[in-house]
């Protein structure tokens, strides 16, 4: 690379100035174009990760304080019962949210793929929740799940007096309400990706399998679903990051209640940093979140990049 720029920088009467300029430009253009976003990412992401790490090892309370107290804030963090609730909730929520959304999305995609009528209309309807913000979803579901206003009251007024659906009022069940709302919002999105994947599968493969005498469920289970692997990966990565950043949905739906039972690491971090004047603990929780994400993303990136280099 550097040997291309050398003759030009020598500056002694270049024989073909225009060519040399365009070569130089072609050489530098990608860097110039990428520089702003590279700088933005470098400062906006990596510098602040470093800053947060520093704050998490300082005694910062209301404002940042640049001293060093070692792992004291981490000890404090892990001694906070609320943080334990948040971590358990994150894993519970992520596991259920991913499993249910993927299962339902795949099922809906397969059903829609059967050349049914009005597919376009149905597809739009299923995809609509994705157009809403989590605040709207959260508020709407807050009312629907409220036993005195929503589903429970409706079913009871139909005559099923003993019907009970009061999960949102019960601290040990409220987290599942958040799963319900999040699944409702994201299933259509998972469906759309799977549907695109299904459309990409060559019909002749299915025909061949049918000729061999395979039943339709068998064809899906053994041939089509394994072929959707790239779609699965996209869905898993996108949904995982939705679940880790799930902040607005929790605030709108339960506001971490009842009794702090639906606390998530993101809401915990916000509360400790900005409401409770414990910036050090907040930063420590942010670093813990980063490490959780890294534990998932790094192996994934590693395997993807390795496959990439093998593929070429």
């Amino acid at each position: 690379m550097s040997d291309i720029s050398k003759p030009a920088s020598a500056g002694v009467a270049p024989r073909r100035p225009s060519a040399s300029l365009s070569v130089r430009l072609a050489h530098w253009l990608p860097r110039i174009v990428l520089a702003p976003s590279f700088m933005a990412v470098l400062i906006g992401v990596y510098v602040f990760i470093g800053w947060t790490l520093w704050i998490s090892m300082s005694s910062s309370s209301m404002l940042p304080r640049y001293d060093f107290v070692g792992l004291e804030q981490y000890v404090r963090l892990w001694n906070t019962p609320r943080w334990h609730t948040a971590v358990i909730n994150l894993f519970l929520f992520t596991a259920l949210f991913l499993a249910i959304t993927i299962a339902l999305g795949l099922l809906m995609a397969i059903l829609l793929d059967q050349n049914i009528r009005a597919e376009g209309v149905l597809r739009t309807i299923y995809l609509y929740p994705m157009a809403l913000s989590f605040i709207v979803t959260g508020t709407a579901w807050k009312w629907m799940l409220n036993p005195d206003l929503g589903i429970e009251k409706l079913v009871q007024s139909w005559g099923w007096e003993s019907f009970a659906f009061d999960w949102i009022t019960r601290p040990d069940f409220a987290i599942y309400c958040i799963v319900i709302a999040a699944v409702w919002q994201s299933t259509g999105f998972a469906m759309a990706i799977f549907l695109a994947g299904l459309r990409g599968i060559d019909g002749s493969i299915i025909k061949a399998a049918q000729i061999e005498g395979a039943t339709l469920p068998r064809i899906y289970a053994s041939i089509i679903v394994p072929m959707l692997r790239p779609a699965f990966l996209s869905v898993i990565v996108l949904l995982s990051y939705i679940s880790i950043k799930s902040f607005d949905l929790v605030l709108a739906l339960t506001n971490t209640g009842p009794g702090g039972s639906t606390e998530m690491p993101s809401t915990f971090m916000f509360a400790y940093t900005f409401q409770r004047n414990q910036m050090g603990v907040g930063a420590a929780s942010a670093i813990m979140m980063l490490m959780t994400v890294a534990a998932i993303i790094v192996p994934y990136l590693y395997s993807e990049l390795r496959e990439d280099s093998h593929g070429h």
Binding site: S61, M62, P81, N146, G257, P258, G259, G260, S261, R276
Partner: protein
Amino acid sequence: MKLKSALFASVLALPVPAMAQDKGTIEVLHHWVSESEVAALNVVREKLAAEGFGWEDSAVGGMSGANATQALRTRLASGNPPGAMQFLGYEGQNWFAEGVVRDFADVATAEGWFDAIAPQVRDFVTKDGAFFAMPINMHRQNWVWANKKVFDEHGLTVPGTWDELIAMGPVLKEAGIVPLATGDEAWQIQLIFDALVADLHGPDFYRRSVVELDPEALSGPEMIDVFDTLRQVRGLVDDGFVGRDWAVATGMVASGEAAMQVHGDWAKGEFLAQGLTEGEDFLCFATPSETPSFLFLIDSFGAFKTSDAATTAAQDALAMATMDPQVQREFNMIKGSIPARSDVSVDGFDACAIKGFEDRAAAVESGAMLGALTHGFASQPQFAGVFGDVVGQFFVTDMTSQQAVEMLASGIANAM
């Protein structure tokens, strides 16, 4: 509703800056965005305009001021603080300790501000002879709001103790009325807890436990008794309390669906907005106790140090306007609170506010004037948050009182 109040706010904001740019403009960061709050703030704004100063409004609503605080931190960190900011709780003290807030001791001494406010309020706006925040209003947190018709129909009278209040529960429930309306948000529950701590075991216990955070007081038999009583209070609340806004709970009392709500005096506006009158439609009385206390919270304005002379002049004018007795009178009549200055006349205030004036005078006298824990006037936010966690969780689960006090003591120790 939102749109209406936003329009209302913008209409109010229009005429003022047009005529008042000459001497200087001050940017004020606050979290007052509701209709009555904006209207009340406009009293201060007009006073400033009359003095020839402009007002640049920076309202950051939401999260009980947490969003505004976040905005302030960002701006301080980038070296661009607003001219003035609304403070709640220990915020003023903490920012003053950071050395970023101006001291108005000279003008405060000249104008007699130190003596115009109650000694308990002084803890939040002064420090070692410095006067760093100008308190404009005072709310009382420990009120009970009751539906008069419901009380009359069931032959109920104003309870003298919490036991009497709790005993009203079965009668009301039988009649299909929710005895006590509240939401499950931690702060709404914590507000009841604050009242119980002060009411059941007196102001001294309140000071030892929630202000000084004495470990013995936090896990002693008195605190267990407070939680036992809170458990009984839970029995007065219906099951639809999840996610219920405080104003919705107030609406339930106004409509007679519920009999009572324990809440601060900002609830009064909800009754008045429906055209109801105190004494005829609704009742206001202090939370029942043999040693009645006055749990207060104040809003104050502090000014950030700046080298800009025009802003400094505007800050001085804002301080004078905020502490002006007439401004405080008009501001609080609209906002529903009472003036932070103790020397403003009660004439023209409504019956509940007048009761507030009287109770405050009595509480200052008897040492029962206490900062409200829920709103950050008892202990620093990191500790107040622990109380909120435990009380909120206790109320919605079947945790025992013993478990609650243990969680409280360990949580406070962990936050130290």
